[in-house]
């Protein structure tokens, strides 16, 4: 491949990764925006969701990449898989909020975050101890259709990933900016106390944030499986930290920022691996995390103020 084509290929890869990170980053940002809580459980809500998605696809009798579907069957199966996975993931997120985090609400400091680390460990080990440490071949009904774009390869599944991510993000944007509950959410993010006094049901807003954030993690998880054709108990940590970096880069608390940050991190991962070396990718991304937090803590679009105490 000519070097332009190599880079174009990495941009395509980066956009796919970025779409996934953006969806995952939204979960961090939604919860942080309202509770000022960094939710480590989100990492493994994502991981568990990929197994839920796998189970749903297997219900349709799919296994591996050989059962290729087309037309309405494909669209139908994917819609059902996305909806079911997102719903299950969302309920998982709501359960975590209700049983582990709500009793701790209002306690200052890092208590909430330490709890989410614990939950994350529990989720991680539930999968490790039940399905095991292996890596699983992900059912994928998508036909291998690909186009040649200036020497680079663009696959059907990539277009599909972009489309799904775009629809979900536009939907979220519409929800937050146009609906009544979305307005309540923005009000709570500004000042929970004032919002409560104005009659906003803050509990409901928080549950909604956890539900939506986790549901988007569910979508990201299904995308992960369909993109990489595998899943494993360890995928939560790496993807989660990258998505968190994306949220920080975009400005944690900002919905638009999370989307932009996700795409940027996807591109940085793909191109950074190309330009420097894949084994240094993690160092690049963690350095971005550290540098942004230290020197530009409000990120690209952020309103949050990580230096205030």
């Amino acid at each position: 491949m000519a070097w332009e084509a190599v880079y174009l290929q990495q941009v395509i890869n980066g956009l796919s990764l970025g779409a996934m990170y953006a969806l995952l980053a939204l979960g961090f940002t939604l919860v942080y925006g309202i509770l000022e809580l960094i939710n480590f459980a989100h990492f493994n809500v994502f991981m568990i969701s990929s197994f839920i998605g796998m189970a749903v696809l297997q219900l349709f009798g799919l296994s591996g990449q050989s059962h290729v579907l087309g037309g309405f069957a494909l669209v139908g199966v994917l819609i059902v898989a996305f909806v079911a996975t997102m719903l299950a993931a969302g309920l998982l997120g709501v359960g975590i909020e209700r049983f582990a985090l709500r009793p701790l609400r209002g306690i200052p400091g890092t208590v909430g975050m330490i709890t989410t680390i614990g939950i994350s460990y529990i989720l991680f080990n539930i999968i490790l101890l039940t399905v095991g440490a292996g890596s699983f071949n992900y059912p994928n009904p998508m036909p291998r259709i690909e186009w040649d774009v200036a020497g680079a390869r663009l696959e059907l599944r990539e277009l599909l990933i972009w489309a799904v991510a775009l629809v979900l993000m536009l939907g979220l944007h519409f929800f937050v900016s146009r609906t009544r509950l979305g307005k309540a959410m923005r009000a709570t993010a500004q000042d929970a106390e004032a919002a409560r006094m104005m009659g906003v049901d803050v509990d409901r807003v928080i549950i909604t944030a956890f539900f939506l954030g986790s549901a988007l993690a569910g979508a990201a998880a299904l995308i992960f499986g369909l993109y990489y054709n595998y899943t494993s108990f360890i995928i939560g940590y790496t993807a989660g930290l990258r998505a968190f970096t994306a949220a920080v880069l975009g400005g944690i608390g900002s919905v638009t920022g999370a989307m932009i940050g996700g795409v940027l991190i996807g591109l940085i991962e793909a191109l950074g691996g190309q330009v420097i070396a894949v084994r240094w990718t993690d160092v690049i991304i963690f350095s971005i995390l550290v540098l942004v937090l230290v020197f530009a803590p409000s990120g690209l679009m952020g309103r949050a103020n990580p230096t205030k105490s």
Partner: protein, 695 residues
């Protein structure tokens, strides 16, 4: 003569009984430990020393115990950072790695440059050896384990400061994320830098320590005893630091950074100190651990290790020295002995009752699940951990609680020592504010405000809510940077100085919405106020030389002297956690804390807010008493009777501008003031009515 009488009177009213109680009260420092706890420590030490005999010299078990000790050391180090200073570090294993690779590098055959004359002095010092090989001799590093222990500690401390310095502005959870980032970067670098670390395969052939020419070899016993010594030293260091000026400063930062800074604690220095000491513990432990394993791989220092250490600290009790040791040892024993045994029992049970899945359970692999459950459970139900850091204090008896309020001698009291130390004798005004402007974005909170506070005066600042009174205090004490204007204190400009320096110069303050250190006792709070006047550093705290002991004892004495200002309101509660006090008492503690810093000037932000009329009167009398002792006071106050009875001069702020200044009864007839408080119509209508309302 009169002074003498009042002093005697005070001792009598407070009563020798109370002072006796205070001596028994649980100390922050210097009250020697009760004999039974010394006995307990001796017993623990004895058990630790004879432990290898107890378990009959089983090498694998002693090895597990030595590992448990290594993790106890790490937990102690993490406890300094997380427990004492309240800085959540999720990448603590990075410092463990730095210590481990330092020893690994200097005591193995990983890096062997060509021999040259340059190395001869090092060979003479036994730091390197000359290895004969075909095609030229090579250098092999043979630095002694005992030398590397402190060197690794210093190296790790250096990296602690390096990582810590840029991150200190960040608040808790962000700091955690940054440390997590560092914690990830270090093992990746170790993996990708094979010339130094041998990459993912790990360092091999790390030399075992030697003592008097005998190598430790591979038996676990010598390592076990080194581990016991290491833990003992670290427990000693932690305890000494905790019960000192340094430990109090850390706890102040943990409880409330802004208040700590306003009380004279240099946030940057003390946070870095915590990072450095915590990292040093990990560095020394890393050396010990690698010497024991004789290998080091990047996987030994990843995120799960940092989380495991956090679990140990949380489980044992955040901030509790003995707690984290017990937590670490219990979890390690659970991991290496108990879960194995339990799995065996379950297998046997499964075979007995023919249940297939019981025979397949491997509990040892579920240790991380247990860690997760512990974290969540402890956070939800027992945040103070197994052995809480602070002991529960006995509640006051009903008699004490309902005791008649005894106020000390009527003012003038005899002079507090904290107030005579640094009296101001200059001729310039003590505080001189000129043209001070503070802007928050588009909002001008203060516009060209000037105010002069002569030494020995009481100035009241009044004004409607939102008029900029508290902003004035914040700007003067360095919490807010003014846009323009000057503030000079005792003749020196202070408008660009950070809060802890301003306090050091002799200006102390209280906060409108009370910023005490909620989980510390009354005495600890007041002692922290004395931070700037004491000098004990980490070394002093560690060795407790007579000078340090004297300083601390005198500080305690002075704190009690300050508490007597409030009669018997605070003294019986000296030992109580301030969050358990009534609102009025918390206000009193805050004033006592400010007094402890030996101020020339005291800024009181609504000191009587939330007090009933009797308490208000009482406090006003006490403030008057302090003034009579020569203390200059600026107070923000809404209660006009307090203002009138205390203030020589009143300055009125409205919308960030000073609209009037003068003696109280002149100001309260000022039309502009009435308008600011009661609106235009009131000012136009009947001025007398307005002034009546004001009074």
């Amino acid at each position: 003569m009169a002074e003498h009488d009042t002093a005697a009177l005070r001792r009598n009213t407070i009563g020798s009984e109370v002072f006796a109680y205070l001596r028994r009260a649980s100390p922050i420092a210097w009250v020697s430990q009760p004999p039974q706890s010394r006995g307990l420590i001796a017993l623990v030490a004895l058990v630790a020393l004879v432990f290898p005999l107890i378990i009959d010299g089983n090498d694998a078990d002693i090895d597990s115990a030595a590992n448990a000790l290594a993790f106890a050391s790490l937990a102690l180090g993490l406890n300094i950072v997380v427990g004492f200073a309240g800085l959540l570090d999720l990448g603590y294993a990075a410092f463990f790695a730095i210590g481990a690779y330092s020893y690994g590098f200097f005591a193995s055959a990983q890096f062997m440059p060509d021999w040259s004359a340059f190395w001869e002095p090092f060979q003479w010092l036994h730091l390197v050896a000359r290895v004969h090989q075909d095609g030229g001799d090579l250098v092999r590093f043979t630095v002694s384990f005992w030398l590397m222990l402190p060197i690794s500690a210093v190296l790790a401390a250096f990296f602690g400061v390096l990582f810590g310095a840029p991150t200190l502005r960040l608040k808790g959870d962000y700091l955690a994320i940054v440390t997590l980032g560092f914690g990830e970067i270090v093992p990746i670098v170790a993996r990708n830098w094979p010339s130094v670390t041998n990459g993912a395969m790990g360092l091999n052939g790390v030399a075992a320590p030697q003592l008097f020419g005998h190598s430790f070899g591979i038996g676990a016993q010598p390592y076990y005893f080194v581990g016991v010594a290491l833990v003992a030293v670290l427990i000693f260091t932690s305890t000494r630091l905790k019960l000192s000026r340094v430990g109090r400063a850390w706890m102040a930062i943990r409880e409330d950074e802004i208040a700590a800074s306003a009380m004279g604690v240099n946030l940057v220095n003390y946070k870095l100190l915590a990072f450095a000491i915590g990292a040093a513990f990990a560095g020394a432990t890393g050396t010990f651990y690698v010497a024991k394993l004789q290998t080091a791989t990047p996987e030994m220092f990843m995120f799960p290790v940092s989380v495991m250490l956090l679990v140990m600290v949380v489980f044992g009790g955040i901030g509790s020295v003995w707690g984290v040791v017990v937590g670490a040892i219990i979890l390690q024993i659970l991991q290496s002995w108990f879960l194995e045994d339990l799995s065996q029992w379950l297998h046997a049970l499964g075979r007995l009752i023919h249940v297939e899945w019981l025979q397949r359970i491997e509990l040892a692999s579920s240790i991380e699940l247990i860690f997760g459950v512990i974290l969540v459970f402890m956070m939800l139900y027992r945040r103070q951990g197994l052995i809480p850091a602070s002991r529960r204090v006995q509640a006051l008896t009903l008699q004490q609680q309902t005791a008649q309020v005894e106020l000390t001698a009527p003012p003038p009291m005899d002079k507090l020592r904290v107030l005579s130390d640094l009296a101001y004798h200059g001729t310039e005004p003590l505080l001189d504010i000129k043209g001070l402007t503070v802007r928050f974005g588009g909002l001008v909170a203060l516009r060209e405000v000037s105010l002069t506070v002569p030494a020995g005066s009481v100035i009241a600042v009044i004004g409607p809510n939102g008029s900029g009174k508290s902003t004035l205090f914040n700007a003067v004490t360095g919490l807010v940077t003014p846009e323009s204007g000057s503030v000079s204190f005792a003749g020196y400009p202070i408008e660009r100085l950070p809060p802890h320096v301003v306090l050091g110069r002799g200006m102390a303050r209280t906060f409108q919405n009370i910023r005490l250190f909620p989980n510390l006792t009354v005495l600890e709070n007041v002692m922290i106020g004395m931070h700037a006047r004491l000098h004990t550093g980490p070394t002093g705290a560690l060795f407790r030389l007579p000078g340090t002991q004297r300083e601390e004892a005198e500080a305690r004495e002075r704190c009690f002297e300050i508490l007597t200002v409030f009669g018997n309101r605070l003294i019986p509660r000296a030992d109580h956690v301030v969050s358990s006090l009534s609102y009025a008492n918390r206000r009193r503690v805050e004033i006592a804390r400010a007094l402890a810093s030996s101020p020339k000037l005291l800024l009181l932000d609504e000191p009587t807010a939330g007090m009933n009329p009797a308490e208000t009167l009482e406090l006003a009398t006490q403030i008057k008493g302090l003034h009579n002792q020569g203390l200059t006071i600026v107070l923000i106050e809404h209660k006009l009777d307090v203002v009138v009875s205390l203030a020589d001069n009143v300055a009125v702020l409205d919308h960030g501008e000073k609209i009037a200044e003068g003696p109280p009864d002149v100001v309260r007839r000022n039309e502009e003031v009435i308008r600011a408080y009661l609106g235009r119509s009131a000012a136009l209508g009947s001025a007398p009515k307005g002034s009546a309302a004001l009074a």
